[in-house]
């Protein structure tokens, strides 16, 4: 897993440090009308022209960071904060030392931005999961309990429709219906900017539902398939012929077996949810983690983008780990061997 994380961050690092990106960085930081030579020397002094693995190692903090003397004779380098003498600053500064870099767009340390925005997105995700998981499981179980009934067909149609509705479509429709000033019902707000301070029903419902809907359909369909499969299993027949009542069959025998598959699915949904978060935060103007990602990527803010990537990769990997552990816990067949 650590290997995966290293590989992924290295790829991001490599992609963001390709020369055209650096050239753009130099021009935005320095002067837009810089000549190619000027760009090269600007990059040279800041150590951007070293080999990628070396830069990566510096960024990680496993090798001392690059230093150079600029035209005014000052020693500059990644580790040297403004106002601190070069001699006093540490020679290693990277992710491992807790130094995430400096955002060129927000003019703030990356670590601060990421932690602040991550908190905001965490709030959003919490509500999303709170809405999505129980609803999805309930819908799936109700539909899978009696395959082919009207309940099943209605709920399945609902689930299939929501999976066919990406966030940018459902968001647009929801805004149109519930908050548009032209024809809408005006129940909720079409922007969630104010939810960054205080969450209210009015400003947070739409973004939460938008994300939840897309993931929900998928989980619900998984649950339904799994439930329907379990309900036709031989041991359910055994239970029925043991005289167990239908409700107890569902509650005691089917449920745990049927939840194994959806559980992993929910956990593996996280990379997708992240996707949704980006879209929804852009659409509803909620300045969370996804919004930062868009800003960083759009403005070529290399260090911020790197920080964001690291966090999202770690989030994804951690959820995968949790899903593996949960699977073992839910499925007794694995835990022993």
């Amino acid at each position: 897993m650590i290997l995966t994380a290293l590989c992924l961050t290295f790829i991001v690092f490599w992609l963001t440090n390709l020369y055209p990106n650096l050239e753009k960085l130099a021009k935005t930081q320095g002067n837009f009308r810089m000549s190619d030579e000027a760009v090269a020397s600007w990059l040279e002094t800041r150590g951007y022209l070293q080999s990628t693995p070396k830069k990566y190692a510096e960024w990680l903090g496993v090798v001392p960071s690059y230093r150079a003397t600029d035209s005014e004779g000052d020693v500059i380098g990644r580790c040297i904060q403004p106002g601190i003498a070069a001699e006093d600053s540490p020679s290693y500064c990277g992710i491992l030392q807790g130094y995430w870099g400096w955002s060129t767009v927000f003019k703030e340390p990356v670590a601060d931005i990421v932690s602040l925005r991550l908190g905001l997105t965490g709030k959003l995700m919490f509500w999303v999961l709170l809405v999505m998981v129980p609803t999805a499981l309930l819908v799936g179980i109700l539909a899978g309990m009696r395959e082919g009934s009207v309940t099943d067909r209605t709920l399945s149609t609902f689930a299939i429709t929501t999976t066919a509705t990406p966030e940018y479509v459902s968001g647009v429709i929801l805004i149109a219906v519930f908050s548009s000033s032209a024809v809408g019902l005006k129940w909720f707000k079409g922007s969630a900017t104010s939810a960054m301070e205080t969450v209210t029903f009015e400003n947070f419902t739409l973004p939460v539902i938008t994300i939840a809907l897309y993931g929900m359909g998928y989980v619900a369909r998984m649950t339904r398939a799994s439930m329907a499969e379990v309900m036709t299993a031989q041991y359910i027949r055994t239970a029925r012929l043991k005289g167990v009542s239908f409700r107890n069959i569902v509650m005691k025998h089917a449920l745990r077996n049927a939840l194994i598959a959806p559980f992993t699915v929910i956990m593996l949904q996280f990379p997708w949810l992240l996707n949704g978060v980006v879209i929804v935060e852009t659409l509803f103007n909620y300045k969370g983690f996804g919004w930062v990602l868009v800003q960083a990527a759009g403005n070529n803010d290399i260090e911020l983008l790197l920080g964001v990537s690291v966090v999202s990769v770690i989030v994804v990997l951690v959820t995968q780990l949790i899903s593996d552990i949960g699977y073992v816990y839910l499925n007794p067949r694995i835990s022993v061997s």
Partner: protein
């Protein structure tokens, strides 16, 4: 001129339609509540062998629902057919229905032919046994035909890029200001913020989707299959490495990948083109191995066949990746069959790149399952080559789940294309593709709905159709 209303002279149908919808919704709700409490219907067999169902609340509701839905469909058809003949008199819906006449005709012809010969058409024919599958297929084919005819300027009412003064953000049904003789007199679905016709843009945007999404999915499948088969078949280190790579790509948040790959700066490095050169070579490898493993016992037939296939494939391949004046410029301009716009190529490559690991995983799993079958062992014991076994013994028997996944994945590719458009990545801004249009339309969403909601609903219905189609296919293939 008066602005058009939605249904025009068919207005009298509206109350009926709304009432029907409400009744059906109420019935469904009633059923769901009742099914929790009421007992299952008791069926008994009469002495003459017929079945009779004792009338219970549930069965009553079920049959009522059936008629309700039939009624709704009838009214919907009335709108469309009425519109076909009445045209502008039947309002916006009628006018649109008339514009879509070529699509309706193609759909009807396709369905009549398919249903007539469905017993001879294998899995495709069986699709017409399933209602869900048929609905899905109809939705998908509707957009496919729309895209095709739209490409020949048949359905569109105006040029998708022309801006007409005074039509900015106008609501659906607004008459066109200063319409010349021969111009279509209305903006059927209104104008967007640059005063372009929303209806025509929707139709034009359809082509991009129905072209790129299936093709990109096809390429992703080629890549996934060519790598997944050996990984599942051989296992061991090869499998470990390939699976690790696939998981690596899967663990990457898609959106981040897009942002990293599709920016103009990255495009300048030629990276997407290099990736294209790698990804696009898979179909070629796939075809070559497929034919070679099958015919190597007959060299006289094999060699010319392979030369022909490789020659043609190679040329197409080189034309695809090579571009005059870019980083990858291998063949001279005159030999270049077609020029892909750099934006489209990049979008294409990233969609293929994101989808192939999932396909890889599916193929790998299926291969691991099928390779334990006796017929694979039989092929092994008569000394067949590994690729023959993979491509001719294993792959054809994995086709069921793969076809189903193919449909789902086209839907997913469509969503991805939309996502790219939504973030303004890849395609040029004025392109009428749905993602871009939604992105533009959302900025004024709270005031003007139509520019964003039209492509949103189109995309929704296409993806829904694909999902339903996949569901129908899965259901039918399981019945075998």
């Amino acid at each position: 001129m008066e602005p058009l209303t939605w249904t025009g002279s068919l207005d009298f149908l509206n109350p009926i339609f709304i009432a029907l919808i409400f009744i059906c919704a109420a019935l469904v709700a009633a059923y769901m509540v009742a099914s929790v409490f009421a007992p299952e219907a008791q069926t008994t067999v009469n002495p003459d062998g017929t079945l009779s169902v004792s009338p219970s609340l549930l069965t009553l509701v079920t049959s009522a629902l059936k008629y309700g839905f039939l009624a709704i469909i009838t009214v919907l058809l009335a709108y469309l057919i009425g519109g076909m003949f009445l045209g502008l008199n039947a309002g916006i819906i009628g006018a649109m229905s008339q514009q879509f006449v070529p699509v309706w005709i193609s759909l009807v012809v396709l369905f009549v032919l398919s249903i007539t010969y469905k017993r001879r058409l294998g899995l495709y024919g069986k699709l017409f046994d399933s209602t869900v599958g048929m609905i899905g297929f109809a939705l998908v084919m509707f957009w496919v035909f729309t895209g095709l005819f739209g490409a020949f300027d048949m359905i569109v009412t105006h040029d998708a890029l022309t801006q007409v003064s005074g039509m900015k953000n106008k609501v659906p049904g607004t008459p066109m200001r200063g319409a010349d003789e021969g111009d279509f007199p209305y903006y059927l679905l209104g104008g967007d913020n640059l005063a372009r016709d929303v209806f025509s843009r929707m139709v034009k945007g359809c082509l991009i989707v129905v072209l790129i999404a299936p093709l990109a999915t096809l390429f992703a499948f080629m890549v996934g299959i060519t790598l997944g088969l050996p990984a599942g078949y051989y296992g061991g280190r090869l499998d470990t490495i390939l699976s690790f790579t696939a998981n690596l790509i899967l663990a990457f948040p898609v959106i981040l990948l897009f942002y990293l790959l599709v920016t103009p700066e990255i495009r300048a490095t030629g990276l997407p083109q290099y990736m294209a050169s790698i990804l696009f070579i898979f179909p070629l490898v796939f075809l070559t191995v497929l034919l070679n493993s099958r015919f190597y016992t007959q060299p006289g037939f094999r060699t010319p066949l392979l030369i022909a296939v490789l020659g043609m494939g190679g040329w197409i391949y080189l034309s695809l990746i090579s571009e005059v004046g870019s980083k990858v410029h291998v063949i001279p301009g005159f030999a270049d069959l077609f020029d892909l716009d750099g934006g489209i190529l990049t979008v294409f490559v990233s969609v293929v790149f994101v989808n192939s690991p999932t396909v890889f995983r599916i193929v790998r799993g299926l291969t691991m399952d099928i390779k334990t079958r006796d017929y694979v062992a039989a092929a092994q014991t008569r000394g067949e080559g590994a690729w023959y076994i993979m491509l001719w013994e294993i792959l054809p028997n994995a086709r069921g789940p793969l076809i189903v996944d193919f449909c789902l994945r086209i839907g997913y590719a469509t969503i991805l294309l939309g996502t790219l458009g939504f973030f303004g990545l890849g395609l040029e801004p004025e392109s009428p593709n749905w993602g871009n249009t939604i992105n533009e339309g959302r900025k004024l969403l709270s005031i003007y709905l139509h520019p964003a909601i039209v492509p949103a609903l189109s995309l929704l219905s296409l993806v829904l159709g694909l999902n339903l189609l996949a569901d129908g296919l899965r259901e039918e293939s399981l019945k075998d």
